[in-house]
Chain length 325, copies 2
């Protein structure tokens, strides 16, 4: 039976955007809401930048750069080249096309629009018909605490310093006073909601800030629908980004089941299902022992069909608190 | 005898930049100060834009777009194309490379730097060794009053509306409280100053705001050096821009001598010399009758050599209050 309810997907950047794309190819636009992490958002060169939101938006709009996984396709770098000549900061790679998004957003911000409103407007002009919204319209900033006692803003850690510093933990400045965005709250309380999907994004810095927003866990659990996470770790490696490196530095095994353990211990009672890659089949028992229903499938999304197939598998977790066993 | 003193050139955009380039090829860098009009400056898309200053800077740095006369060479337009897709304002043509200048400047502004300081920094990185400075670090905004009673900001008139509205006059908002920039004041009072050159820029909207800054005319006249203007009108036409159209709409003949008359009546006693094109030789008498020494030469600067030759002719006005007769 095809999935006929609504799906709420929680996403970081690249990996999350891939699954969101898969979901968008199966579901009718009104069935899918994607909520993106905004803990990575920052002001750079005076511009308001929302990396995860943009990655998902560009992906759903099919203007994403399929080689690097961020930014736009057919991108040029003349702005950055000129800025370099002027001695400006060029560590954050802003493409010429991508700049339009940031300048547009910054202007709208200064004009008093919320990030939700701006995102809605951007999606409309880019032809994204699914609902895509920031996790919050308040300012939440992911901060990386390093083992040598330093504090780095996320983009400094992630892009400028190439994830080289050894991490000791993370903080989400402002999260205590932040409220989930209206779209987020609406998606959770929508009577038609049938599943919450936690995309294969970084658990520590992409998913955690979304789930730690005040009220998010409780209001999702009240709905009694399956909450399914897809492991971002396959065969001990993160497909993209520093998730595996972070796990090592945090003293965790770099395994899919350690991700499941993290979710279960940090967000008690929230998750009902977990999706792992066929290469990690030997971990099924450990994950089931955590009380999670488990699906073993191909989670390495190389092609569009891979994305669609994974989305299909994820949506199989239907029915109250999960339908497969 | 070669010109060994210092030259202060007052410039608008394209035409002025051409002569400034010619002067820069004759004079040692320390002999030349170029002061650019900033009445056209405006905030667009949240960016601080200084069109005349940039045109002169790009020209002196040899990164100017020689086809269109503004912006940078080898420019691309991907930002603007993407912004258009987003429904942003695209009437002001910001190239991808050019954007770096505006973003750099805006950031420095917000950090508390003055336009003079920012210009100095930009010139340093772009390899401009001459002194180039804004007329003022205060906000002065050229406003166009139209015959049908409207008020337009200069760039709306000039770029967005393609100079189509019929002009009735101009105002320079803020000029009464503005001070000339330090570099401007230093150039005027420099004991080595031997000539002030008013470049072939638009008399009404490029030159007038510079000369109308409090104290400019008096302090120049105190120096008793030749003040030489080059006509921007050749054979009844402006080489670029709306000068001739404005003259018609203001009820003036579209002639070089009418430009001279405008300067003499508006800035009494300031000008000592006037340079006109060979095609306008028949106006020599009328201009001399205004009390101005006159040079007739080729003022149409098509080639670099034309720019150098014209600069040579202009510098021939040496000696107290002009040396040729």
């Amino acid at each position: 039976m095809p999935f006929s309810g609504k799906c709420l997907a929680i996403s970081g950047g690249v990996g999350g955007a891939k699954l969101a794309l898969g979901l968008s190819r199966i579901l009718a636009p009104e069935q899918l809401t994607v909520i993106a992490n905004t803990g990575d958002d920052f002001i750079h060169l005076g511009l308001a930048i929302s990396p995860d939101l943009d990655t998902v938006m560009y992906t759903l709009a099919d203007v994403d750069n399929k080689e690097v996984g961020w930014g736009q396709s057919g991108e040029s770098w003349n702005f950055l080249e000129a800025l370099e000549r002027l001695g400006g900061e060029t560590w954050f790679r802003l493409g010429d096309r991508d700049l339009a998004t940031h300048i547009f957003r910054t202007q709208k911000y200064l004009g008093g629009s919320s990030l939700s409103e701006i995102t809605r407007e951007l999606c409309l002009t880019l032809g994204v018909r699914q609902k895509l919204a920031p996790m919050t319209d308040d300012k939440v900033s992911t901060v990386v605490n390093t083992r040598d006692g330093k504090t780095l803003s996320f983009q400094h850690y992630f892009v400028r310093d190439h994830c080289e510093p050894v991490v000791a933990g993370f903080e989400f400045t402002g999260i205590g006073n932040a409220s989930m965005s209206e779209e987020f709250s609406r998606a959770i309380t929508d009577p038609a909601l049938e599943i919450v999907v936690i995309c294969p994004s970084n658990p520590f810095v992409s998913v955690a800030p979304v789930l730690r927003l005040p009220g998010v866990q409780d209001s999702i659990m009240e709905r009694n629908v399956p909450v399914v996470a897809v492991s971002p770790i396959i065969a001990g490696q993160a497909i993209k980004g520093p998730a595996a490196k972070m796990m090592r530095e945090l003293g965790k095994p770099q395994t899919a089941s350690a991700v499941a353990e993290y979710y279960v211990s940090e967000f008690r009672g929230l998750l009902t299902g977990f999706v792992i890659d066929s290469q990690d089949e030997n971990q099924t028992g450990a994950i089931r022992a955590l009380g999670l229903e488990t699906i073993v499938t191909n989670t390495l999304m190389l092609t569009l069909q891979d994305r669609i197939d994974l989305a299909d598998q994820v949506l199989a977790f239907t029915g109250p608190r999960g339908g497969t066993q």
